[in-house]
C-alpha cells in the first residue's frame, strides 16, 4: 500500500479531531487554570504562627470586646468574645472589618506637626480678650479627654467642647424594660451595644413609631407609621392625653391608638421611651412613666486621679460666643458624634483662626482645617473607651494596639498638652491606677472568660490584664460622684398647649432627612462595599432614597445624581427612587459631605443635578 501525502494529512487531521474527544485537551485547560491560579497577580496570604489576641473595638461608643485571629502577629479576622457581659459575643459589620482600616486607600500618612505647632504658638500668643483656645473632643469621657480638659484648664482662656451627651448623660438599663417605645431610634440597627440589645430583646415588647419601615420597625412587635416629624407630638400626647386629638391629627394615628399606647406604657412597665434625637418630650415622658431609676439610671463616674479634677468643664459648641475661638483643636482620631462644620465655623474668629484636626483620613474636619495631623487608627491606636449608653455600670476597657502604626503619626494628647504647657504623662495607666485604688467592681478577662473581684488583683496585674483584653465593671455600690441626667435635671413639665412638629414645615426645605446608618461619621473598610455595591442591602455613602412621587416633584427621574440642599449648604448626592420611603422624607446614607450640611434633624430639598 502506497502512502500518499494526502493520507498523511488525513491521518493528522483525524488524530487531531480524535484527540479532542479524549481527556487530553481538558487536562491542558485544567493545568493552565491551575497555573494561572498561582500567577503573580493573585496575592498570596502570608503564613505564620496563628495566635489569638484580645482588644476592644474603638469604632463606636459601644466598645465591643474583640478576639483577633492573628497570623504572624497580623490580625486577619475579628470576632466577638463569647460570654462578655456587655457585648455578649457580638460584633457589627463595621467591627468585623475594622482590622482592614489601616490599609484604607484614604488613609492619611503625612502631616506637618512642626508647622502646626508653630502656628498654634503664634495664634495663642495673639489670643486677645474674649477670644479662646478650644479643644473639640468628639468622643468625650476618655483618659485623653481628661488630658484635654486639664490642658484647657491650664490655658487662661481654654475651652473644652464636646457633643451634648445622649439622654442628658443618663444610662439605659434595657434588662429592666418590659415595654420600649422607640420614636425613630435605630434600636435594632446599631443603637447602643448590639449584643446587649439583642440579648435583652426577648424580654421587652418593642413599639416603633417611625414614618418609614426601618430595620428596627421591620422587627418591632408593633410598628406605628406616623407622619414625618410628629414624634414630639406623639410623646406629648402620651404624657398628657388631653392633647390626643391634636396629636392624632399631627401623627396620622387614631386617638384610640394613642390612648391604647399610653395605657400600655403605664400598665406594662417598667417602660422606656427612646428617640432618635433626644427629644425633650421623650425625656419628660420617661419622667412621667417612672423610668428614672428603673430603665434610665445615673451611671457612676469611672474614677479619675484626684490631680485631674482641676479640669476645664465640659461645654457644648452652641454655648460658645460666635467669632470667639482663635485656636481650635479637633480630635477625630476616635470616631464619635459629628457636628456640622457650619455650626463650628461660625464660632471661629474672623481673622486667621488656626484649626488643627487630628484624623486618620482627610474626609472629616480635615477638609476644613489648616493643619491635619495623621493619627493612628483602630486597631493601631491605644485608647480607653467610655461606657456605652446601655451600660448601667461604670466600665473601663482599652482598645489595645494590635498592629504598630506607621511612623510619623501624631499623638493628639501629647500635642495639645505640650501646647498648653502641661505634662500629659501616661493618662491611661494613671486612670487604671485610680480605678484600682477604688477597690470596687470586678475585672472580666477575655482569654479565660473569668470575673475576678478587683480587690483580689494587684495593680500591675490589673494593668497587664487591661492591655491583654479585659473590662473593668464598676459595682453598683459605687458612690455617685456625678449625677448628670438625673431626674432633677429633666424637665417634668412641658408646655402642653399644642403638639409641635419636630422641625417646622418649610416651603424652602420640604423634605425631612432621616439617616439610615447610625454611625456614619467615619470611613469604613472597603469590604463594606459588599453591602452597598456588590449587593443592595444598604445604600452607598452620600446616597439618598426618596419616594418616586417626591422625586418627580423635584424633577428627578430614575436613579441619578442630584444636589441636596439644607440651611447649612449643598452637596452632590446619588438618588434612588424607592416606594418604601414615605412622601416628604429623604432616607439618607450619610457621608462626610452630607454630615457637614445636616444637623441632628434637618429639613432639606433635592434638585436634579
Amino acid at each position: 500500500m502506497q502512502r500518499t501525502r494526502r493520507d498523511i494529512l488525513l491521518f493528522m487531521g483525524g488524530g487531531a479531531a480524535g484527540a479532542m474527544l479524549t481527556p487530553a485537551p481538558w487536562r491542558l485547560v485544567t493545568d493552565a487554570a491551575i497555573w494561572s491560579e498561582n500567577w503573580p497577580g493573585i496575592p498570596r496570604p502570608a503564613r505564620g504562627e496563628i495566635t489569638a489576641r484580645y482588644t476592644n473595638c474603638a469604632l463606636c461608643p459601644a466598645g465591643c470586646a474583640v478576639r483577633a485571629r492573628c497570623v504572624a502577629g497580623q490580625p486577619v479576622s475579628l470576632a466577638g468574645v463569647a460570654g462578655n457581659p456587655l457585648s455578649q459575643g457580638a460584633l457589627c459589620a463595621f467591627g468585623l472589618t475594622g482590622h482592614q482600616l489601616p490599609y484604607h486607600p484614604q488613609r492619611l500618612k503625612q502631616g506637618t506637626p512642626e508647622e502646626a505647632a508653630a502656628a498654634v504658638r503664634g495664634a495663642m500668643a495673639k489670643c486677645g480678650a474674649g477670644e479662646s483656645v478650644a479643644v473639640l473632643d468628639l468622643a468625650p469621657g476618655r483618659a485623653a479627654s481628661w488630658t484635654y480638659r486639664r490642658a484647657m484648664a491650664a490655658v487662661a482662656n481654654g475651652v473644652y467642647l464636646a457633643p451634648p451627651p445622649p439622654l442628658g448623660g443618663a444610662a439605659v438599663n434595657l434588662a429592666k424594660a418590659r415595654t420600649v417605645l422607640s420614636l425613630g431610634a435605630p434600636l435594632l440597627d446599631g443603637w447602643g451595644t448590639p449584643g446587649n440589645v439583642h440579648a435583652a430583646r426577648a424580654n421587652f415588647r418593642l413599639i416603633q413609631a417611625e414614618p418609614w419601615e426601618s430595620r428596627t420597625a421591620a422587627l418591632a412587635d408593633e410598628w406605628l407609621p406616623i407622619r414625618p416629624g410628629s414624634e414630639a407630638a406623639l410623646a406629648l400626647a402620651l404624657k398628657d392625653p388631653k392633647t390626643a386629638p391634636s396629636a392624632a391629627q399631627a401623627t396620622g394615628l387614631t386617638e384610640k391608638q394613642i390612648l391604647d399606647l399610653a395605657n400600655e406604657l403605664t400598665a406594662n412597665g417598667p417602660a422606656l421611651v427612646l428617640s432618635a434625637d433626644d427629644l425633650p418630650e421623650a425625656l419628660a415622658l420617661n419622667h412621667a412613666l417612672g423610668a428614672w431609676g428603673q430603665t434610665l439610671v445615673a451611671r457612676p463616674e469611672v474614677p479619675v486621679p484626684d490631680a485631674w479634677k482641676k479640669a476645664a468643664p465640659e461645654r457644648v459648641v452652641a454655648s460658645v460666643p460666635d467669632n470667639s475661638i482663635r485656636v481650635l483643636f479637633i480630635d477625630e482620631s476616635v470616631p464619635g458624634s459629628h457636628i456640622p462644620w457650619g455650626a463650628i465655623e461660625k464660632k471661629l474668629v474672623r481673622d486667621n483662626p488656626v484649626v488643627v484636626a487630628f484624623a486618620w483620613t482627610l474626609e472629616g474636619y480635615g477638609r476644613h482645617a489648616q493643619f491635619t495631623l495623621p493619627t493612628a487608627v483602630y486597631p493601631e491606636l491605644t485608647s480607653d473607651i467610655p461606657p456605652a449608653i446601655d451600660s448601667p455600670a461604670a466600665t473601663f476597657r482599652i482598645s489595645v494596639s494590635l498592629v504598630a502604626p506607621p511612623a510619623g503619626m501624631a499623638d493628639p494628647s501629647a500635642f495639645i498638652a505640650k501646647a498648653a504647657g502641661i505634662d500629659a504623662g501616661n493618662a491611661l495607666q494613671e486612670r487604671a491606677d485610680a480605678i484600682h485604688k477604688s477597690g470596687r467592681g470586678t475585672l472580666f478577662t477575655y482569654a479565660d472568660g473569668k470575673s475576678t473581684p478587683l480587690k483580689d488583683i494587684k495593680p500591675d496585674a490589673f494593668w497587664k490584664s487591661l492591655n491583654e483584653g479585659a473590662t473593668w465593671l464598676g459595682g453598683a455600690e459605687e458612690p455617685l460622684t456625678r449625677r448628670r441626667g438625673d431626674a432633677e435635671e429633666i424637665p417634668g413639665e412641658l408646655p402642653s398647649e399644642a403638639p409641635r412638629l419636630r422641625v417646622s414645615a418649610s416651603d424652602t426645605f420640604p423634605l425631612l432627612v432621616a439617616f439610615t446608618t447610625p454611625t456614619p461619621a467615619t470611613l469604613s473598610s472597603p469590604l463594606m462595599s459588599k453591602l452597598y455595591q456588590d449587593s443592595d442591602l444598604r445604600m452607598a455613602p452620600n446616597t439618598a432614597a426618596l419616594h418616586p412621587d417626591t422625586a418627580r416633584a423635584s424633577g428627578i427621574t430614575g436613579a441619578s445624581r442630584a444636589v441636596l440642599e439644607t440651611q447649612y449648604g449643598r452637596c452632590a448626592i446619588g438618588v434612588i427612587p424607592d416606594e418604601s420611603v414615605p412622601p416628604g422624607m429623604l432616607e439618607v446614607a450619610a457621608g462626610p459631605e452630607i454630615l457637614d450640611i445636616c444637623g441632628a434633624f434637618t429639613r432639606a430639598k433635592v434638585v436634579a443635578a
Binding site: 481538558w26 485547560v29 485544567t30 487554570a33 491551575i34 494561572s36 491560579e37 500567577w39 497577580g41 493573585i42 496575592p43 498570596r44 496570604p45 502570608a46 505564620g48 497570623v71 490580625p75 486577619v76 479576622s77 470576632a79 466577638g80 457580638a90 460584633l91 457589627c92 459589620a93 468585623l96 472589618t97 482590622h99 482592614q100 490599609y103 486607600p105 440597627d189 448590639p194 449584643g195 439583642h198 430583646r201 419601615e213 430595620r215 428596627t216 421591620a218 422587627l219 407609621p225 472597603p526 469590604l527 463594606m528 462595599s529 459588599k530 453591602l531 455595591q533 456588590d534 449587593s535 443592595d536 442591602l537 444598604r538 432614597a545 434612588i576 424607592d578 416606594e579 418604601s580 414615605p582
Partner: protein, 259 residues
C-alpha cells in the same frame, strides 16, 4: 492521632436561619468575605456582578404605605442534597458533593468558567469572577492563610467555610478524636451573626439546632418543590413570610426592594 478502630461519622451539615431575628445588618456578608478572601467590590461591580457568597435580600409583602412589611432573607448556597443541579451540569467535575459532610464543594482549579452551574443554580448562589481579585495596597496582609484567593474567570460559592472544617478536623485529630464535636466547627456567618439568627450543625444529629428547626411547623426551605433537598432551613412565625417563600415569584416581582 485518629482512633484506628472507630469509623469516621458521616455528617450532613445544615443550617437554620430565623428570619424573625435577622435585622439585615450585613455582618454575615462581611464576615464571609473576610474569612474566604473575597475582595472588596471592583470599580465596575454591581449587584449583578458582585461576589457575595451569602447575600441578604430585603423582601416585602407587596403592600404599600403602612401595610407594608419587610423581612431580611440571607441567601447562600443551599447545599442541595439530591440531584444537585450544579454538579450535574459541570463539564469539568469542578463541583462535588463531599460524602463525608454533605457540603457541595467548588474547586476553582478545575473550573473553566463556562458558568453552566450559575445558570443551573435555582438560588442564584454562585458568583463569577469578572475581574482578578484586588485589595488596596497593604490589605493583602489581612488575608486568611487557610483560603486561596480565586482568579478571574472562575466560579465560586459558599462551601460552609470548608477551611474551618479542615481546621476543626485537625484539632480533633490532635486531640485523638475521629469526629468533630458539635460546635467545634461553625462557618464565619454563623459565628458573626449578632442576633444568633443563623445556626449550624449536623442534620443527622437530632439534637442539633438545624435538625430541631427542620421539624418545626414554621420552617421552610427555598424552592422546596424542585426536590433538590436543600440543607438550609428558614424559620418565621409570620405567615406572610412563609407565603412569600412559597410563591412562584416575589409579590413586587423583584428580589430586592431596591433591586
Amino acid at each position: 492521632m485518629i482512633a484506628a478502630n472507630k469509623p469516621n461519622k458521616i455528617a450532613r451539615y445544615g443550617m437554620s436561619i430565623d428570619l424573625d431575628r435577622c435585622t439585615g445588618c450585613g455582618a454575615c456578608m462581611v464576615a464571609c468575605a473576610v474569612e474566604n478572601n473575597v475582595p472588596p467590590a471592583h470599580e465596575g461591580a454591581t449587584a449583578r456582578k458582585g461576589i457575595t457568597w451569602i447575600r441578604v435580600f430585603k423582601v416585602d409583602n407587596g403592600e404599600e404605605g403602612p401595610a407594608r412589611r419587610s423581612v431580611f432573607v440571607p441567601v447562600l448556597c443551599q447545599q442541595c442534597g439530591e440531584d444537585t443541579p450544579c454538579v450535574h451540569v459541570c463539564p469539568q467535575q469542578a463541583v462535588e458533593v463531599d460524602p463525608a459532610t454533605g457540603i457541595v464543594g467548588q474547586m476553582p482549579e478545575r473550573c473553566l468558567g463556562c458558568r453552566y452551574c450559575m445558570a443551573a443554580c435555582p438560588y442564584h448562589a454562585r458568583f463569577f469572577n469578572w475581574w482578578d481579585p484586588q485589595w488596596p495596597a497593604g490589605m493583602e496582609k489581612t488575608l486568611n492563610p487557610d483560603v486561596a484567593p480565586r482568579m478571574r474567570g472562575v466560579v465560586e460559592k459558599c462551601n460552609f467555610c470548608h477551611g474551618r472544617w479542615h481546621a476543626a478536623k485537625e484539632r480533633a485529630a490532635a486531640a485523638g478524636k475521629s469526629e468533630i464535636e458539635a460546635g467545634a466547627y461553625v462557618p464565619a456567618c454563623v459565628e458573626s451573626c449578632p442576633t444568633g439568627a443563623i445556626r449550624f450543625g449536623d442534620l443527622k444529629d437530632a439534637a442539633s439546632e438545624p435538625a430541631v428547626a427542620a421539624k418545626d411547623a414554621h420552617s421552610f426551605r427555598l424552592l422546596e418543590k424542585l426536590g433538590t433537598e436543600p440543607k438550609i432551613y428558614y424559620h418565621s412565625k409570620r405567615d406572610w413570610v412563609r407565603q412569600v417563600a412559597a410563591a412562584p415569584k416575589p409579590p413586587n416581582g423583584k428580589e430586592n426592594a431596591r433591586g
